[in-house]
């Protein structure tokens, strides 16, 4: 059978876990916190250590960040080994991955999704658009960055952010 042969040939695809950049005292630049949310990993809820279920919200993204989020859960990066998992419902989620600028049509949907996520929760703004509107700043359909609409706990810069950068922030929450 072809599948058995390829399983045996490929073996383990997942790359070894990279060292954590946030292990030191100072929080890293690439996971810079929004000033109002407090600083450092201590502000992230301790209840989410070891297990983080994520719901992805596309608030108006170009789908570049979606491809990178998809790559995080691919066999190469394998974010699941750090305890992160994508789920189907915000009610099951502990964290929201929000991508893209917040468009007018998605403003209420984003607020409702955050309200539907049980506490303790983290909101992670993924990508330059979600942080400061990126390319789309000032466009007529854009309400603003994610932090203009809902409180944000962590941010991942990049256009699009590489999977390692997203995973570093996820590992900061799960502590693994």
């Amino acid at each position: 059978m072809g599948l058995v042969a390829s399983i045996r040939r490929l073996g383990r695809i997942a790359e070894p876990a990279p060292p954590t950049t946030w292990a030191g005292a100072a929080p890293p630049d690439q996971a810079s916190k929004h000033p109002e949310a407090g600083g450092g990993a201590e502000a992230l809820p301790a209840a989410l250590r070891g297990s983080l279920q994520l719901r992805h919200v596309d608030a108006g993204s170009c789908n570049g960040c979606e491809i990178e989020i998809g790559a995080c859960f691919s066999p190469v990066y394998d974010a699941e080994r750090y305890g992160a998992r994508l789920v189907a419902s915000p009610r099951h989620a502990d964290g929201l991955l929000v991508t893209g600028v917040v468009t007018r049509n998605m403003t209420d949907a984003l607020r409702d999704t955050v309200a539907a996520t049980p506490e303790p929760r983290v909101v992670i703004a993924v990508g330059d658009c979600a942080r400061d509107c990126g390319e789309f700043a000032g466009a007529y359909g854009v309400v603003g960055a994610v932090r203009d609409v809902v409180p944000v706990d962590a941010e991942v810069p990049g256009c699009p952010p590489p999977p390692d950068a997203i995973i570093q922030v996820l590992r900061q929450v799960t502590g693994r």
Binding site: M1, G50, D78, G83, A88, P118
Partner: protein
């Protein structure tokens, strides 16, 4: 296990033994603690075959611990049905874990709960969850409930029929008695009837516990969900109970499947502490092997189209029916 056939005969007469009671407590504790580990192990096997590192077999326990610490959100407009369904599901699952011969065949509840009671209890849990799915009033809740009922209506008769085929050589529908007769007469397991019943039971266990190819437990796509669609609105401790109970159902059904066909090692009414421990180790090993095979098999399977699922289940019912026929017309060689 240990020598004690006279004791066993005396105690079986009044239907209660200290060893059986201890075994029942032990098997409920083992199933409660071990069910999330079975799920974690299956995910780990799957991850390794996919070339991933995997979250580790303790991950479901981490998830449950976290869920119990989370806020419990009860959606506006839901009634008591929504809040009590996880408790009903968990209670029936625990009761099944106490009745079914997992570690010992001499559970004190075994007298009351035969094959029909176990199927009924499975259905009570399923119906509670489908009602909760309807109670949320969401599109996906209702859709999941309707699908689950469709599948349950086809699954329950198959369990009954396949169980009936196995109960013919034992002369009893009591699950403990069926397993004991298989221990006493291993040749009875190697009949055409038992082989057919085994195939039918594998299919219904997959369908009942929401595994591939009937339902994909790791799907994020609401339109293809069955079990997940009903529990989309649950949060916190209630979600933890639902997931825990689903894991318990899977573990108990795998253990039952293993013990019906490979009963060796299971403790009986005459077993001492050593016998119970052997029973525990034996069932853990059997469930581990079955879970590994199931997880490895799932890598090769795609989910069936929903309208093909009744065909699969009708096929397994037919095999179950053939098993009953064979058990009457092709008696075991003994």
């Amino acid at each position: 296990m240990s020598g004690g056939t006279e004791v066993y005969a005396a105690q079986a007469a009044d239907g209660f033994s200290a060893s059986g009671a201890a075994g029942a407590v032990l098997q409920v504790a083992a199933v409660v603690a071990g069910a999330p580990l079975v799920i974690g192990w299956m995910r780990q096997v799957r991850a390794r075959l996919e070339g991933r590192a995997g979250a580790g077999w303790l991950q479901p326990w981490r998830d449950l611990r976290k869920l119990f610490a989370k806020q419990d959100v009860i959606p506006r407009g839901t009634t008591r049905v929504f809040t009590t369904a996880p408790l009903v599901l968990a209670a029936t699952s625990l009761l099944i874990a106490a009745i079914v011969p997992v570690v010992t065949t001499a559970s004190p509840l075994d007298e009351m709960g035969d094959l029909f009671a176990v199927v009924g209890l499975l259905l009570v849990g399923t119906v509670a969850l489908t009602l909760a799915g309807l109670d949320t009033g969401t599109a996906f809740g209702g859709m999941g409930a309707s699908r689950e009922v469709t599948i349950a209506a086809l699954v329950e008769p198959t369990i009954l029929v396949a169980g009936l085929a196995l109960s013919v050589p034992a002369g009893s529908s009591n699950l403990g008695a069926i397993v004991e007769s298989a221990v006493a007469d291993p040749g009875a397991v190697a009949t055409p009837a038992a082989a057919l019943a085994f195939i039918a039971l594998i299919v219904v266990v997959l369908a009942e516990t929401g595994r591939l190819p009937v339902d994909n437990p790791s799907t994020h796509l609401e339109l293809t969900m069955v079990h997940e669609a009903m529990v989309l609105e649950y949060t916190g401790a209630r979600l933890a109970l639902v997931e825990w109970a689903s894991a318990i159902r899977l573990t108990v059904l795998l253990a039952l499947l293993a013990n019906l066909f490979v009963p060796w090692g299971i403790a009986d009414a005459g077993s001492g502490v050593a016998g119970l421990l052997v029973g525990l180790v034996a069932v853990a090993a059997k469930v581990c092997v079955l879970a590994t095979l199931l997880a490895a098999g799932e890598v090769f399977l795609a989910k069936l189209r929903l309208f093909r699922v009744p065909e699969l289940l009708a096929g397994s019912f037919l095999i179950g029916l053939l098993a009953v026929t064979a058990s009457y017309f092709l008696p075991s060689p003994s």
